[in-house]
Point group: C2
Chain length 123, copies 2
């Protein structure tokens, strides 16, 4: 019997493990951590990873919806890697901490998908 | 600006909101709560909702992987509803708390998909 929780199988990963995982860029800078993932209720598809970055103890922290496929898991670093500089991240669409309302706005979502050059989930 | 976190948009739902949500059956009995969701890394698809039930303060608690589409969100009750009696739930495939290793076993996964008569995500 397992004593240490195994929350990751070869192909599957638990949402509770994704949350809190660090996100790095190709220059090995830590950009932030994954706050949560947003799931499309209709299809069950994970659409965004919401990354928290900046601020201190939640103050001034920004959240940043990233298209799920933008992140690649790096087993060795135990974190996600994105091809994004810190400056590009700062210029990417973000949201105020706690305000997920933007994600109900299709125009806002389009800016996210355009930024990451991804195929919108609603098409 | 929002003061109360809005973690749910019309179409999208945050993993942090799914976690802890109660699960009821059609007889309005509370069966348990959603512990986490399991995501297929390859497709980004939510494959299972892992439900915790039974036990007390984590002791003797069982976890129960349910196919995501088995759960219907009931806005009024602020919980998921499944068409499953308590007896059927007790007979459904479950796992020991903290041991997600079973989900790496395709034979075990087949018992889950057979139980819920769902289309396996790996096919």
């Amino acid at each position: 019997m397992d004593t240490i929780p195994e929350i990751q199988t070869t192909r599957l990963i638990s949402s509770s493990q994704v949350e809190g995982t660090p996100v790095y860029n190709l220059e090995r800078e830590k950009l932030g951590t994954v706050d949560s993932v947003m799931i499309d209720r209709e299809s069950g598809q994970v659409v965004y990873a919401v990354m928290a970055f900046g601020g201190f103890l939640g103050l001034g922290e920004k959240r940043h919806p990233m298209t799920w496929n933008t992140m690649i898991y790096d087993k060795q670093r135990e974190g996600y890697v994105v091809s994004l500089s810190r400056e590009e991240l700062e210029g990417a669409p973000n949201m105020n901490a706690g305000a997920y309302g933007e994600l109900a706005d299709r125009d806002y979502e389009e800016t996210v998908y355009t930024h990451y050059k991804a195929q919108p989930y609603w098409l």
